[in-house]
């Protein structure tokens, strides 16, 4: 069975500092990994994904994530945080690309960026 863990309920960072939001996963076979962001009272928005290839993937709004197979991790990173990055971030895993396969979400990590 697939699962996703986000060990931090909340991450606090000062504007301009680098940020990391952690994610570990468990899935049989090759993982398809995603990060989504949710702003207050909004739906989830796709940020980036890892399917195959380069372990460092880049996404929207300057975010990137590093896939580490040995540590089964997919941490979200940004070199310089903005106040506007404050939101709820979800790591997600899917057993395959395409329909019929459920994407499972982690519990979410709330990011606070202080000015």
């Amino acid at each position: 069975a697939q699962s996703v863990a986000q060990p931090e309920d909340q991450v606090n960072v000062a504007e301009g500092n680098p940020l990391t939001v952690k994610c570990t996963y468990s899935v049989s076979g090759n993982p398809y990994l995603f990060w989504y962001v949710q702003y207050p009272n909004r739906g989830l928005q796709f940020l980036l994904k890892y399917i195959t290839g380069d372990n460092l993937v880049k996404g929207s709004y300057g975010f990137e994530a590093e896939f580490n197979k040995s540590q089964t991790s997919f941490h979200l990173k940004k070199p310089s945080a903005l106040v506007s990055d404050s939101a709820l971030y979800f790591c997600a895993v899917s057993p395959a690309i395409g329909g019929g396969f459920k994407t499972i979400f982690g519990a979410g990590t709330r990011l606070f960026v202080k000015a």
């Binding site: 995603f34 909004r42 796709f46 994904k49 399917i51 395409g98 396969f101 994407t103 979400f105």
Partner: protein
């Protein structure tokens, strides 16, 4: 940019009443999903739908829940007899196939009194 639309944005209902939540997925997408989120917390999978049938469902999706795509555009979630614990934000999502990322609607907030 194409988007997933959901109606209503907020519905208040009495316990035991039937509720239908509606979604219009992105027009060329083939796979459809319902998720729910309670109190801004974890996003829980309910059901996936493809080719006019359920592909997979979670343990949450019991006999009180049903989905259908009656007219080729709308994708609906019906809760037959609502319970207090059904109060949540319900999100519809669609997937084009081959890309992997889900496109979410803005959600329908259900409040059961």
């Amino acid at each position: 940019e194409p988007e997933v639309t959901q109606t209503p944005s907020h519905q208040v209902t009495q316990m035991g009443q039937e509720v239908i939540l509606r979604c219009v997925p992105i027009s060329n997408h083939l796979y459809f999903y319902w998720y729910r989120q309670i109190l801004g917390q974890k996003v829980e999978f309910l059901v996936s739908f493809y080719n006019n049938e359920i592909s997979e469902k979670s343990e949450i999706f019991d006999d009180q829940f049903s989905v259908e795509r009656p007219d080729g555009s709308n994708f609906t979630l019906k809760i037959r007899s609502t319970k207090l614990e059904d109060s949540a934000m319900y999100f519809c999502a669609s997937l084009g196939g081959g890309t992997g990322e889900l496109f979410f609607g803005e959600g329908s907030r259900l409040t059961v009194l």
